[in-house]
Symmetry: C2
Subunit: 415 residues, 2 copies
């Protein structure tokens, strides 16, 4: 898009202090929306609660404490702008469609050039780059003939050519509260109290509607032309994947996470090669957003319970330890799809009913659902997959009955 013309910077002198720019979430143009200013160097410029980089803001603070980083450092954004144009799309100015990321976050250098020139420290919350990704599973698909290099989507060496984007969380609290069907004031109070007192401004500064939470963000990988994501006529193959370090990186055989992810990548490559486009959105929500300590505690409880690790008690053990079965809250997940302009997913590579319901509930059409090929399910992961099928996960195959759930048992502990 073309740069917005230089314009007058409106300064305010409300409770935010002299100099904070107004933020009007969901406004039609960046000029009306205003930039997210999370700088710590000029407190009077801040118009949000929290600061940039999610959890890594704590490391940034350490760097200042250790004397390695000047607190006045302002990022030199020369040459950092997106490699591919994403948007703007109509969804960007619909405050009901996007509440947990800043749609303008990748192009701040351009759309807020006037504010930056006026001395505001405005940082990108999204970065878009290009990469070649080489997965052993894709190499294997080439070797066995399931995929064929085409020198466009897939190189002769088996590298997939992608555009990727890293996205930090930017929460518009009124919209987040609406998604969770609670009052904004209650959301703010509970976020404050249940984190043990993080950010009193959540309760004292109701004039600040935007929160940069110290949590992990997400990364999207696009196979093919990113502009095609917004064209419902172009076949879109997509997976929304939640982090599972134990499988995604280390290949633990207790779940299907990496096999399903690499299968999705293979489907994305094949889809892009036949003229479509592929998308993997990867969210940092380890262990259903319960964290890995809770996950490992649950593994032990599952394997040690009387009768062993059976599918019929799969969810119960998580609930005993964590109080809930899942904290991923797919309610916020579709935001990234709306940022990319997605209107229709032709092939959704996910069996999760929670993800499906969230996506379709947000107004995106879903065509076919692609389940994980049975041969990719590790033997020890049958407990998980059967429990999920019985709980409502999509499958083209059979749904196990109670007797089968009791019979499906995972490996015990060696000790």
């Amino acid at each position: 898009m073309s740069a917005t013309p230089p314009r007058h910077i409106r300064l305010t002198s409300h409770a935010g202090g002299f100099g904070a720019l107004p933020l009007q979430w969901g406004a039609a143009t960046p000029a009306e929306r205003g930039p997210v200013v999370g700088t710590t160097a000029r407190p009077s410029h801040r118009n949000v609660i929290g600061t940039h980089s999610g959890s890594y803001s704590v490391y940034r603070a350490l760097a200042v404490a250790a004397g390695a980083l000047s607190r006045e450092h302002k990022a030199d954004l020369t040459d950092t702008s997106p490699t591919d144009v994403i948007g703007p799309y109509p969804q960007w100015s619909d405050a009901s469609k996007i509440v947990s990321l800043d749609p303008w976050g990748a192009m701040v250098s351009e759309v807020f050039a006037a504010e930056i020139a006026a001395g505001y420290d405005i940082r990108p919350t999204i970065a878009v780059t290009q990469a070649h990704v080489v997965l052993p599973e894709v190499i294997d698909a080439v070797r066995t003939g399931r995929l064929k290099p085409d020198a466009r989507i897939l190189t002769a060496g088996g590298a997939a050519v992608v555009t990727k984007a890293a996205i930090e969380p930017v929460w518009w609290l009124p919209g987040v509260a609406k998604r969770f069907k609670c009052a904004e004031a209650d959301l703010r109070r509970v976020l404050f109290e249940e984190t043990g007192g993080m950010y009193p401004e959540l309760v004292t500064r109701s004039d600040l509607e935007v929160f940069l939470p110290p949590i992990g963000g997400q990364t999207v990988y696009v196979f093919g032309n990113p502009r095609d994501l917004a064209n419902p006529e172009v076949e879109l193959t997509a997976r929304v994947h939640d982090e599972c370090n134990g499988s995604d990186v280390f290949g633990s055989d207790i779940c299907t996470c990496r096999p399903y992810l690499t299968h999705a990548i293979e489907e994305c490559i094949a889809g892009a090669q036949r003229g479509g486009v592929g998308l993997v959105a990867y969210s940092r929500k380890e262990g259903r957003a319960l964290g890995e300590v809770t996950k490992f505690l649950v593994y032990n409880a599952r394997k040690r319970q009387v009768g062993g690790d059976t599918a019929d008690r799969y969810f119960a053990r998580t609930e005993c330890v964590a109080g809930v079965q899942d904290m991923r809250f797919q309610e916020l997940m579709p935001d990234v799809l709306h940022w990319l302009g997605v209107k229709k997913i032709h092939r959704l590579v996910s069996m999760s009913n929670m993800k499906y319901d969230a996506i379709t509930g947000s107004g995106i059409e879903v065509g076919e659902r692609v389940d994980i090929p049975p041969e990719l399910i590790p033997a020890d992961a049958r407990v998980e997959i059967e429990a999920k099928l019985a709980a409502g996960y999509f499958t083209k195959g059979d749904v196990p009955d109670d007797e089968e759930l009791r019979r499906t048992k995972g490996r015990g502990l060696a000790t």
Copy 2:
């Protein structure tokens, strides 16, 4: 270890409120040390700043706000205790050796049984379990004969049998300040100010010395018997690896992260098979703890600068954007090794001088250093590896000179 005998619970009525148990970091026994109590259900019981689960505390708060989780839920820890005994080791009661995790964090059910029975909500900050991990690179090593299944460390199917532990950050602020050579008061103030005002208790409650920061933790994978980690007579092969989602999961060819990690796992398996023990410690420090948005911005700046992505300007581009080259602060990293009782690493699978200096500086002996085999370095990652070699990374090979650094150039952008 045997359970400590039941004992009288000392209640205090200092500023922490009636009922908060004292915490004496580095004390010789758990009874003297006292439990970490980060519960939000009983504020008067809290003896730390922040709460459990690192960043995922924000999701827990969301779960309460959404009405899915009772704020009174107390974890049912039945059957969750560690699968393998780790410690206690002398390092656990040396307040200079461990400052960023709770060495007693895995065995709270046992050592703080009396306090739990008295009604304190004490949660594990470490969980230890067992797993089978299946990596395509290990399967390939079996196929080509570099590794041989032995049905103990490596199954016939190519699965490595591991003990693994997830560890949440628990920071003893006086000790963390000492590591960074700054005053504790300054550390507290900067942590508060540079996060945009997170946890005012950092500055108002100097009586609370322990902070549970909302950041990612770490995971350790042990190949062989975990008790052997503490025996300097048993050959230890170890890698300390910092998260790189783009390579570790997606196989981006711009760096050596996954190839070096999988090489280390192969070395760990081979070491354990010849009677030693292997260790991979994986830390959530994406993009040198700058976060992935900054990382992708730097990629673009590197590839677009005049002359292209050359090794001689590799670090400069990161510094322009982030203000520093690196925020990983290896100063805290050796804590996990001391938790495991490590005294000597016979084979350190890392070329990082920062990691080496931190490990040896903490009193752990390092024998051989194992560099990444040249054939595992992706062509586009030569920029990174040569820049690092010139900056002091260990190698048995040649260190590139200025001319070579200028000549080594990565792939440009397609657009």
